[in-house]
């Protein structure tokens, strides 16, 4: 592997390389499948002298997150990676990271949650951490993994943002799949991404600051929460600016908060994220060839949620088909719900048809996406929108129960 050249590498390799190119100086990590090779690569980079950093081999994910927060508080650029149960075990400290306003970076390899044990792709792990105050980006290719991690350090460390970020990549579909990736040169990345210099607060004996003291209701607790929300919203435009700058320097553009594909004249919009979105491009091409006016809106950023972008892109369409790879039980897909709430007060808002699909790694091909799109268009045009969300590709005997429920409700 040579910097400045093309290579064929896995998503996990790309994530580890991104941390190296971003000049991360403290890594803390705990293994979990399918994240493990990220921390293996980092260990070999550091021990071989290819990467200059401290590596803390902690005893749990809770401690991994704690260690990177501590290191960031002392002024280091930090990185960790996890997956599934590991991310859930971090939950408490994820909130601590955002509340501390430390721009910690993390690769999350999206994997289903147990029980039962399942190591395959599913977005439930990251989606259930949506309110932690972390920026959350879902990517579709190994190139996008590498580029996005580098870009997100620039976004997260922006003085108006100062929030941690997770770049989410699908288990195995990206993490263990080899794809061609153009590896930037270190000098190019250095020019793009300046060193981390925290300006708001720092653990420094020469200028003692007590961080995280008890705050009473009449003091600024609520304002501190508000400032996280404000920074999160502000991050949307900064993300666009950084993506533009990255594309000028490196010639690659993956979109800001969203990426649009054959969308401008589309009557129906397929909205999904991660690798389902790259599969959707194939589906769109096939449906276009059949004469259907469909387009794709790929959601890259789930937090911050690009409400304005969605409202502008979806207004006036005949329908929106949202495909979620996770479920908020009894309520629908997290993305489906967000899209609906975005469109709610637009007069003549397009109907939203939400599918829950591909949980626990169940294969979703471009053909499945075509099936869902056609099913949704059929429902919209005949007024058969009976339920807020639909389960896709349940085994036939379960599907019968689901359909019977549909008749009852």
């Amino acid at each position: 592997m040579v910097e400045g050249e093309w290579d064929i590498i896995t998503g996990n390799h790309a994530a580890a390389l991104a941390a190296k190119l971003a000049r991360v100086s403290v890594v803390a990590a705990y293994p979990i499948t399918p994240q493990t090779t990220v921390v293996e690569y980092l260990a070999s980079f550091i021990e071989s002298g290819y990467m200059n950093a401290e590596y803390i081999r902690v005893e749990s994910e809770h401690s991994a997150m704690a260690a990177v927060i501590g290191a960031a508080a002392a002024g280091a650029r930090t990185f960790t990676a996890t997956s599934s149960q590991g991310l859930l075990y971090m939950a408490e400290v994820l909130h601590w990271a955002a509340g501390s306003r430390v721009p910690v970076g993390m690769a999350v390899i999206n994997r289903a949650l147990g029980p039962p044990w399942n190591i395959h792709v599913d977005h439930q792990d990251a989606m259930s951490q949506r309110d932690t105050g972390w920026l959350q980006i879902y990517v579709s290719s190994n190139q996008e993994v590498l580029d996005t991690i580098i870009m997100m350090y620039k976004v997260a460390e922006h003085p108006d943002v100062m929030l941690p970020f997770m770049v989410c990549l699908d288990a195995f579909v990206l993490s263990h799949t080899f794809m061609p990736v153009k590896i930037p040169r270190q000098e190019e990345v250095d020019e793009f991404l300046p060193p981390y210099r925290p300006r708001h607060w720092l653990l420094d004996p020469s200028e003692p600051i007590s961080f995280g003291n008890l705050v009473l209701p009449d003091e600024e607790y609520q304002e501190m929460r508000w400032s996280i929300d404000l920074s999160m919203r502000r991050a949307l435009e900064i993300m666009e600016d950084v993506a533009e700058e990255f594309s000028e320097r490196f010639g690659r553009y993956h979109g800001g908060a969203v990426m649009k594909y054959r969308l401008s004249d589309a009557d129906y919009v397929l909205l999904t994220s991660a690798t389902l979105a790259s599969e959707a491009e194939v589906a769109i091409d096939i449906m276009r060839d059949e004469g259907m006016r469909v387009g794709l809106l790929k959601l890259r950023s789930f937090r911050p949620f690009p409400h304005r972008d969605l409202r502008e892109s979806l207004q006036g369409r005949k329908g929106v088909i949202v495909i979620d790879r996770s479920i908020s039980f009894s309520s629908g897909g997290p993305m489906g719900n967000e899209v609906r709430s975005s469109l709610y007060d637009i007069s003549g808002a397009p109907p939203v048809v939400n599918y829950i699909a591909g949980l626990g790694g169940r294969d979703i091909t471009y053909n499945d996406l075509i099936m869902m799109t056609k099913d949704a268009i059929g429902r919209i045009s005949t007024g058969r929108l009976k339920r807020p969300y639909y389960w896709y590709k349940l085994k036939p005997e379960y599907q019968r129960v689901e359909l019977a429920e549909e008749v009852i409700s």
Binding site: S25, V26, A28, A53, E54, I56, R57, V58, E59, S60, H62, S63, A64, M65, A66, A67, V68, I69, G70, A71, A72, A73, A74, G75, A76, T78, E92, V93, W96, L203, D204, P205, E207, P208, I209, S210, F211, G212, N213, L214, V215, L216, E219, E220
Partner: protein, 295 residues
């Protein structure tokens, strides 16, 4: 060269007047001594504990040192991160965890054990008030047998964890027990810990007037009696070698027990039984002292 009162007086403490501590708080005595010894080139990582409150509510601060308040379970891990960042930058700073007994022997044990096993260059200090005092006196893994807490209203049934020995079993370079009743012993141990590289652990017996129910002007006396009755022996384990640092003339355990209402359910027979346990532990330590190395 041991620390004297003159040395202590010359050094500045980062503990300021006007904290939110209870009157007679043992932990604040310990912190005042510790911050004098550790000096201004020190950062503290503090998990949820009495000191989260003692520091004073935002925007005030009763401590003039950098503090990272942290989640209950992971102070030792956060301190590992802080220390490694300084190491990467080539800065030499004392990184100190300042934690209560709950954050040490119970919820924080995993992170503490991990940091000890990795040999992180930090000083972990547990100020032990033998229960969850910040939440209102509930039993912890450090609460002594027979002590009344709000979750053991008739007295705890189990022996506490022997935390210093648990840490020592990690074969770290320095482990010590201390008591606020023996401030110079504590100061000397801190001074030693400051100079040793690697993971250092100091477990400070820290009497708590509201939690143990004794008069607020008796903190030092209770702290001293704990040692003098052999209830809380003072020793250090340096590179695996144990040394008892204070060998007082033995006083009856009753004197220590009867000063505190948390032990009011103890009968005379109970005290006798505890006296036996205390002597067993003391003799055990005396025997360990004879060994070349215990770990």
């Amino acid at each position: 060269m041991s620390i004297t009162i003159h040395d202590l007086r010359k050094r500045e403490s980062s503990y300021l007047p006007g904290s939110a501590a209870c009157p007679g708080c043992g932990a604040t005595i310990a912190f005042r001594i510790a911050s004098r010894i550790l000096g201004p080139n020190t950062v503290y990582v503090i998990p949820a504990c009495c000191f989260s409150i003692i520091q004073s509510p935002y925007p005030r601060s009763a401590i003039s040192a950098p503090i990272l308040n942290f989640a209950f379970a992971a102070a030792a891990a956060a301190a590992s991160g802080v220390q490694r960042a300084y190491k990467f930058m080539g800065k030499d700073v004392n990184v100190v965890v300042w934690a209560g007994d709950g954050g040490t022997v119970d919820i924080g044990l995993q992170a503490l054990s991990g940091a000890a096993e990795r040999g992180e260059n930090i000083i972990y200090i547990c100020y032990d008030n033998e229960a969850y005092m910040n939440t209102g006196i509930q039993r912890s893994g450090a609460t002594p047998m027979k002590a009344i807490t709000k979750t053991t209203p008739t007295g705890k049934q189990e022996m506490p964890k022997d935390m210093p020995m648990i840490v020592a079993a990690h074969r770290v370079p320095y482990v010590a027990t201390a008591s606020v009743g023996y401030p110079f012993d504590l100061a000397n141990k801190l001074e030693k810990a400051r100079k040793i590289r690697g993971f250092k652990y100091i477990h400070i017996f820290s009497p708590c007037p509201p939690g143990w129910d004794f008069p607020v002007n008796k903190t030092a006396e209770v702290g001293k009696l704990a040692v003098d009755t052999y209830f809380w022996p003072l020793y250090e384990i340096e590179e695996g070698k144990l040394r008892i640092t204070v060998k007082p003339r033995k006083k009856p355990l009753r004197e220590f027990i009867r000063m505190q209402r948390r032990f009011e359910s103890l009968s005379d027979e109970d005290i006798e039984e505890m006296e036996k346990l205390v002597m067993e532990k003391w003799n055990f330590l005396v025997n360990l002292e004879k060994l070349e190395r215990i770990f």
